[in-house]
């Protein structure tokens, strides 16, 4: 699966989590770019992504995520 394909699936998860059909994210998107992306939503997103891709992040990876792109870089190595 390419990074663009992973991004597309992650975008679907975000639109579901934030209940915003118009939400479009990119590799550079950060929490400050999306209203409502707080610590609780971060946990929801992480778990939804883990379930979607059948993988698990570790705590250090979650803490080190700078943007959506760095999240996708990790996903790519696990699928």
């Amino acid at each position: 699966m390419s990074k663009e394909e992973v991004l597309s699936k992650v975008n679907e998860i975000f639109t579901d989590a934030f209940d915003r059909e118009d939400l479009v994210i990119g590799f550079e998107t950060t929490a400050s770019d999306v209203e409502g992306w707080d610590s609780l939503m971060q946990m929801n997103l992480i778990e939804m992504i883990e379930d979607e891709f059948g993988m698990r992040f570790d705590m250090d990876e979650v803490v080190g995520m700078e943007n959506v792109g760095s999240m996708i870089d990790i996903i790519i190595t696990r699928i």
Binding site: M43, I46, D58, M59
Partner: protein, 139 residues
């Protein structure tokens, strides 16, 4: 009160406790919530709708999941992040309820667990079920 840490929690750990919903509980919940729907405060009305007595507020019965999590599983060091409840059968004043929970998921990435809850009455009937997502507070 239990004091499980995140590290101590394992999938499959379970807890349970018993509770009886009293008339006083119903009055307190009515005052607290402002819900005076006759199904919950008027026995004759509830009987006219096919129930054997006034029906215990669903959210009063499911408030016992707060006790399950906050006192037993995991106890002190937690916050409920999400709680989905499926109300299956009516609960009546005086019913003896057993509330049970079992850890079904543990995520190191988010330091959260999921507990599946089940409440049965004195006849062994499942009156509601739940899935609760729980985060851990710092020490």
């Amino acid at each position: 009160m239990n004091h499980y840490t995140f590290e101590e929690i394992e999938i499959g750990i379970s807890s349970s406790f018993d509770s009886v919903i009293t008339e006083e509980d119903m009055k307190l919940f009515a005052d607290l919530s402002g819900d005076l729907n006759p199904m919950h405060v008027d026995a004759d009305y509830a009987k006219s709708k096919g129930y054997k007595d006034k029906v215990v507020y669903g959210m009063l019965a499911s408030s016992l999941y707060s006790t399950l999590v906050g006192m037993y599983l995991p106890g002190e060091r937690c916050l409920i992040n999400n709680c989905e409840v499926d109300y299956r059968k009516p609960v009546y004043v005086g019913d003896s309820l057993t509330v049970m929970g079992e850890v079904t998921d543990k995520r190191n990435s988010t330091r959260r667990i999921k507990v599946k809850g089940k409440t049965i009455n004195q006849n062994g009937v499942i009156v509601n079920t739940s899935e609760i997502t729980i985060s851990f507070t710092g020490d």
